[in-house]
Subunit: 228 residues, 2 copies
């Protein structure tokens, strides 16, 4: 509204932000840009989104790579600070309910175009941070889920999960994850009720988990027959 205050210079849009504000604005807009274009997105395109010139970036970041690292930090670490791991271990609540709520919160945090695309782009780059994230999912989420499942089934919880158990959890987790990929990366039609998708996936996972201890040997023999 009060646009003509300074009268001269139409181009002075809103320049002169504080250093901290400008810096975080760079990171925010860079996240958006890199999510769409990949990390090949240009620094000039980024500057255009901020309404500033390209060299200004180098007042705040020594190189484009440092900016990218900052984007990683913001994308990966920030959503993790909600502490949703604790949701899994609260044994005062039924396991089924804990798992349902955990996955609703977890997917609520990462199921969006920005996060998923940055995640996949960084995965394709083969960066350490991506391997770190996968390891964290395994240690903080999947093994915890398996431990709670064992506890719930009255089994020993000290022993580390077997490779087959872990794989089962991965397939379950990956199936849910792929829902987000289909929706936000492929723009493919999905079942709109995300909570129901999680609920159905949980049903078959939990049913499969209890059956695993029972008849694992039978089924393994059967599958070997198929392979040969």
């Amino acid at each position: 509204m009060n646009r003509k205050m300074p009268i001269k210079r139409t181009r002075s849009k809103q320049r002169r932000l504080s250093a901290d504000d400008r810096r975080s604005e760079f990171v925010t807009k860079a996240t958006e840009l890199f999510a769409e274009e990949g990390f090949g997105g240009g620094t000039r395109a980024l500057a255009r989104r901020l309404g500033v010139t390209q060299p200004l970036l180098y007042r705040y970041f020594p190189s484009k790579d440092d900016l990218i690292k900052e984007v990683y930090r913001k994308v990966y670490l920030e959503p993790l600070e909600i502490g949703w791991e604790k949701l899994l271990s609260d044994r005062s609540r039924p396991l089924r309910m804990r798992l349902q709520e955990f996955y609703e919160v977890y997917t609520g945090a990462i199921f969006n175009r920005r996060w998923l695309r940055i995640y996949l782009y960084s995965g394709l780059k083969g960066l350490d941070i991506n391997r770190w994230y996968v390891g964290m999912v395994k240690d903080k989420i999947l093994t915890r889920i398996l431990r709670e499942c064992r506890h719930d089934a009255g089994l020993a919880t000290q022993t580390r999960p077997s490779a087959a158990e872990l794989e089962l959890a991965w397939v379950f987790h990956g199936g849910i994850f792929y829902y987000g990929v289909r929706k936000y990366i492929y723009d493919a039609p999905v079942l709109e009720d995300k909570a129901q998708m999680i609920s159905d996936a949980l049903d078959i996972f939990l049913a499969g988990f209890v059956r695993m201890g029972e008849s694992a040997t039978d089924r393994r023999a059967a599958s070997i027959k198929v392979v040969g």
Copy 2:
């Protein structure tokens, strides 16, 4: 062996291929290059891999984009010509065995670094061909699996699968798919016995499918309670 035939010119490595050979060599090496570097991989790097100069590419392809399209064709269409869809519908064999074999053959075709990376890169570009592929998986694989499951359970096979059924199949399929992503994109450790992974995933999917028709309403009510 007979390398020194022309005697002069050490640098004449193997030039002068037939047009068809050179063209397909471009496509093959381009697939490798783009799988690693993404479609931003340079035409000069590609030419270097062939031991030729960069402008030669433009004798065979009007533009880099046309080369990329050719790569798509080769990557997506070629593996589909094995006709693994028929494996699913052969009712002379037990359903469980059909599914096991299908997924072993299917994953045998797409679980490799080259295919998966090209697939993800093209998915991130949001290309039509990727949407087409997802639609094909849905129509040719998942609905077929669901139809066979219904038949096997003695249910009606004419009606199209419900959205919840389809989602269940997607989560199952995606869970298996994500095994490949973890192994070949993230280079993460996975259960080495792929056949067992498929077998376990099938167990819980099949168990879940039969339970779905029975007590769907109960579970849905339970999950709603969690959400609210």
